[in-house]
């Protein structure tokens, strides 16, 4: 596991190859308050060319290869570029420089990815499944499984209520259950599991294991070092947009913990 490179005798099949990826955001109205009409006016009159757009260099030249059957944890302090990197792997945020190569279409599961709040959980399950490209029969077959897995109905008939009435934990659980219903080549999970209760976290860990067994690759962003070491065999440590360490989860987490304690 120490040498992650693809040597000629290597049988491992890569699923995600991130090749020197840089991501730069342009943020509109970062400095000048959007709500302030006077500042907007003065911007119009004084700085005709470009209003206060700022560039944020969130990921600075990250390279790694991920292989089939791996579960990879992403750790690092807040704002180190973990979520941005996941979005790039998912193909939602095109890199400014470098390229992300993937096998199939990675699916990103984020915390704030609200599905349709006005619709019932039931409808969200069907719509989410259809959007992922499942057929109506496949959804019918797995519907009970999805609802049972989410545990939404354990405390009453919540699945027939609009999703906006759910607590954030319930919403996250249902979203994870919908996304996990389909086997993905690459599944990216952005702190989605931290909102669930202990029981749900255990269930989702089992589900992640199954997904890996189905020859997929799972990425997990989490601030819980425990869930990284329990779920993942490999970890990437990002700090200020650069990759600081890439190796077995236990070693990387230990180094990261030493680093955070030092500060």
């Amino acid at each position: 596991m120490a040498d992650l490179k693809d040597s000629p005798g290597d049988h491992r099949v890569p699923t995600v190859v991130v090749d020197d990826v840089h991501i730069t955001y342009t943020v509109n109205g970062a400095r000048t308050g959007k709500g302030s009409a006077t500042s907007a006016l003065s911007r119009l009159t004084t700085r005709r060319a470009t209003p206060g757009a700022r560039k944020v260099h969130a990921v600075k030249g990250v390279s790694f290869a991920a292989y089939k059957g791996e579960a990879i944890g992403l750790i690092g302090s807040n704002g180190s570029g973990k979520s941005t990197l996941l979005k790039a792997v998912a193909g939602l945020l095109p890199p400014t420089r470098g390229q992300v190569h993937t096998q199939g279409q990675p699916s990103l599961l984020g915390v704030n990815a609200a599905l349709m709040g006005d619709l019932t959980g039931e409808r969200n399950v069907v719509l989410g499944g259809l959007a992922m490209g499942m057929t109506r029969e496949q959804i019918r077959e797995r519907y009970d499984e999805i609802v049972d897995f989410s545990g939404i109905n354990e405390k009453g008939d919540f699945i027939t209520l609009p999703m906006r009435t759910y607590s954030s934990g319930m919403g996250a659980r249902l979203r994870f259950s919908i996304a996990a219903a389909k086997s993905h080549d690459v599944l990216l999970i952005d702190e989605a599991l931290s909102t669930g209760d202990a029981k749900f976290q255990r269930r989702s860990k089992d589900r992640i294991k199954e997904l890996r067994a189905e020859a997929g690759t799972v990425f997990l962003v989490s601030h819980s070092n425990k869930s990284i070491t329990e779920t993942c065999d490999r970890a990437l440590w990002l700090e200020a947009g650069t990759l600081r360490m890439d190796g077995p989860a236990k070693e990387v987490v230990a180094a990261y913990e030493a680093f955070t304690k030092r500060k």
Binding site: K5, V17, F64, G91, H101, D118, A131
Partner: protein, 299 residues
């Protein structure tokens, strides 16, 4: 902040790209070719239909009267316009069957205007879905345009009632409403996709849309007859022609021609113009939307 070399594997330039190429990986987030995109979209047709229906029923889910509003809302709209434009401003003078004329105009106009308004929110209003799941993004504006079509079919039910009350009885010409609606739906979908891309990039456009729509409505003869209003030499002939060939006026006229007995004088080239606008907007809007496919999750 220098990275210790032994903690991160190093790769020679081009090594990773070669590894990816050897195993046939594809570049993530790359835009599919147009034919592939159309195939993907077709593969999501059940999603589009389900999404449209779900949105339609969710619309009044918080109202006590529920789905009754589907029919009541357009009727109330027509009533308001009847009092303001028909009675107070007296635009009904010289227009036969003014109520069917007005209601047809309002409903057909609403179909186009609400499709455009829905288009401005197609991406921004569903950003959670866009960021969570992968599907061709055109599904969203298409689904919202379909939702407006379903909504219109409810309104058409109300319209038939009004027509019967005001002495318009079913005749074969009513069947012309079907191709007219199909063309208008294609036109609306194209425009909705253009708006979806524009507002995904520049949200400010959603603020401007209502003003553009209102101007468009008043110049399309929704509540009055353009012919009557602009007769005489007050406006140059070219302006009158431009107003009558604007797509909203064309689709409204087609529908009035199909449904109202006394409404005549529709030259054959109006159908050609309706077809032209539909194909032009439908195709151009789709291609324009597809060109930015990979960027919609941003922001």
């Amino acid at each position: 902040m220098s990275t210790p070399a032994q903690d991160v594997p190093t790769y020679a330039p081009g090594e990773l790209a070669a590894l990816a190429a050897r195993h046939g990986l594809t570049v993530s987030g790359a835009r599919p070719s147009l034919p592939a995109y159309i195939r993907q979209l077709w593969g999501r047709r059940h999603f589009i239909a389900a999404f449209a229906t779900a949105k339609l029923t969710a619309q009044y889910s918080q109202a006590k009267l529920g789905q009754i509003w589907q029919i009541v809302t357009p009727l109330l709209n027509a009533t308001v316009y009847y009092f303001i434009f028909g009675v107070l401003m007296d635009t009904r003078r010289g227009v036969e069957d003014f109520v069917p004329f007005l209601v047809t105009g309002v409903f057909i106009w609403t179909f186009t205007s609400s499709s455009i308004t829905a288009g401005t929110r197609a991406i921004s209003g569903n950003i959670g879905l866009v960021r969570a799941l992968h599907f061709p993004r055109a599904s969203l504006p298409v689904a919202l345009a379909l939702q407006q079509l379903q909504q219109l079919l409810f309104s058409m039910g109300a319209l038939v009632l009004i027509l019967l009350v005001f002495g318009q009885y079913p005749r074969p010409a009513w069947l012309l409403a079907i191709p007219a609606l199909a063309l208008q739906a294609l036109f609306n979908t194209g425009l909705s996709m253009v708006m979806a891309r524009l507002t995904a990039r520049t949200p400010d456009i959603a603020q401007l849309t209502p003003f553009v729509l209102r101007t468009w409505m008043y110049s399309s003869g929704v509540m009055w007859s353009l012919d009557h209003l602009l007769s005489g030499d007050r406006v140059p002939h070219a302006v009158l022609v431009a107003l009558e060939y604007n797509p909203a006026a064309i689709y409204i006229n087609l529908m009035r021609y199909a449904l109202i007995d006394s409404y005549s004088g529709l030259p054959a080239h109006v159908w050609a113009a309706a077809l032209g606008w539909a194909v032009l907007c439908g195709v151009a809007g789709f291609v324009y939307f597809w060109k930015a496919e990979e960027t919609y999750g941003r922001g």
